[in-house]
Amino acid sequence: MIPVFRWVEVSDIRKMARSTYELSFPEPESASKIGPGQFCMVSPAPHTSDVFLPRPFSYYRVDGPGTIRILFRTFGRATRWMAGLAPGSRIGVFGPLGNTFTLAPQARRAILVAGGIGLPPMAMLAGRLDALDEPPEIDLIYGEQAGDRIVDVGSDLPGRVRLHLCSEDGAAGQKGLVTGLFRPLIAGCDSPPAVYCCGPGPMMAALAGLVSSENTALFEVSTEENMACGKGICKGCVIPMTTPDGSVSYRYCCTDGPVFNGFEVKWPHA
């Protein structure tokens, strides 16, 4: 569907975990057509902030008749500005942008791996997979560095999705990394599962080391790169890809992605 740029009023903002916020806004026309993995660019209304460029955020939830929710974590200027928004604040939203995860893999099982603020597209994907006519069995692994950053995603997930939590400090879920939870899960699969992942570069690179075309039916990742336009224009957001002859090949995170075949991404790209 054709993306739209519009000024909207924040309907709600709430803190979900340390440094982590959920932001809701209306998206009247397009909400139902948004696919898991897609994102929007969020920019401040003129004169309300010193943020200049818009920033990309994955869609997290698409509620009933046209409310969108995104989940974000504060890092720098833009996300700190966003954390200070209040209901009624005006923001610019440009979306939906980018491609989506492949929804109907020939796999009876799907393992979704979310690292940190990589959670939003994985949560949305879990819901969409579960809503398929013949849904696969779904495992969602979700890990954070610190337990107090874990977002209570479970209550919003379809009942059939098995949620596996971990944190590096052990303060919530199992102590350790998502790869630690992933290994036994994939080892226990009868047939190659579809694996989906979104998280920090090093985490995705580590996961890429654990999958192969033998043990996996599909390996899709959602990538990140600095963006200016979100629409394939500025040529800013390149993701290096592996090529047979070893030469460099770039694809654009915003239009070719953000979802790529994880076997083709050159790790670590970040």
């Binding site: 920019s43 200049f52 610019g92 790169e225 600095n226 963006m227 336009c229 394939g232 500025c234 040529k235």
Partner: protein, 314 residues
């Protein structure tokens, strides 16, 4: 009474003075459904080079205060694909907008070769010569900062190309008016001012440059005072020379008043660049705000305002 926004420039009539700048509106198709360039004065395409280019390693863009840095490295599809796949679409969808094709080379010969290749294509209204890409060098200074090189490129193109030739200059020189003079003497029909300024951001956490190539080009509102000063200086010099060559103002334009700054300083046309990233509708809004401003101020013809700041100021 609605003001007349039409501008005559380069022997062409532009339906309004607002174009979109090279590299910030792609080939027109990406934003078309959101902001059709056919409503604008014109589209300036992303720089095309002889061969296709992958561009520089990431990160390629980063925010700065009221601006951004880019080191795209002239990533583009190359002359052949541009002519075969991109240009026909642009020409077909241009409506009342003018089609300006921006191009560059890595040597004087390449500049002339690409220009000649474009000159034969149907539907191009003008060529803009990108002399200011901060990521291409000639010795220790940038290619386009060397007056002798600028003269050679423009004079060479002038000999080969019948289309209106716009020289787009870099602000990274001690005396932009002198460079403009050289370009005009060599045969440029108009001057586009300005391209980005060399800049750098350091990622303090990582303790290294935020961009993969370290240096990038600064654009956005931060740059506007520099662009307006360049247009003002060059316009004055051209008046002194008695040259009727028009100036196209670029740099940090996001609103109608921003465009008016350039027009009052001497620009006949303006280009909206980075602002489209912040709001894809920006260029269309600049047109609307110019129209509203003229109506408010009782200006019948926007062209009357070109260079007016020279009479009040000094």
């Amino acid at each position: 009474m609605a003001a007349r926004l039409t501008v005559d420039c380069l022997g062409l009539s532009f339906q309004n003075p607002v174009l979109v700048a090279s590299g910030t509106f792609g080939y027109g198709d990406e934003y078309y459904d959101i902001m059709p360039f056919s409503r604008l004065g014109g589209l300036v395409t992303k720089t095309v080079t002889a061969a296709p280019r992958q561009g520089n390693p990431p990160p390629r863009v980063v925010e700065t205060d009221s601006g951004m840095l880019n080191s795209i490295g002239l990533a583009n599809v190359g002359l052949e694909v541009f002519i075969r796949e991109k240009l026909p679409w642009i020409v077909q969808h241009a409506g009342g907008a003018r089609v300006v094709v921006n191009f560059a080379g890595f040597s004087v010969d390449e500049f002339i070769g690409v220009g000649a290749g474009l000159a034969g294509c149907r539907g191009i209204d003008a060529l803009e010569v990108n002399l200011g890409c901060p990521n291409v060098k000639a010795g220790s200074i940038h290619f386009g900062a060397d007056p002798a090189t600028v003269r050679e490129v423009i004079a060479g193109l002038r000999g080969e190309v019948g289309l209106p030739l716009v020289a787009k200059l870099t602000p990274n020189v001690a005396d932009i008016a002198a460079l403009a003079e050289v370009a005009v003497e060599a045969g440029a029909d108009a001057l586009s001012l300005i391209n980005t300024l060399p800049g750098m951001k350091i990622d303090v956490k990582k303790r290294k440059p935020a961009l993969g190539m370290a240096f990038g080009g600064l654009s956005g509102p931060a740059l506007r005072p520099v662009g307006v000063a360049c247009v003002y200086k060059v316009y004055r010099r051209l008046q002194e020379m008695g040259a009727g060559v028009p100036v196209i103002g670029i740099g940090g334009i996001a609103t109608g008043p921003d465009a008016l700054e350039y027009i009052l300083a001497g620009a006949r046309l303006v280009q909206v660049g980075t602002a489209s990233f912040v709001n894809p509708l920006a260029a269309g809004q600049v047109v609307a705000e110019l129209a509203a401003w003229c109506e408010n101020e009782g200006i019948g013809d926007l062209s009357e305002l070109v260079g007016v700041a020279h009479h009040g100021g000094n």
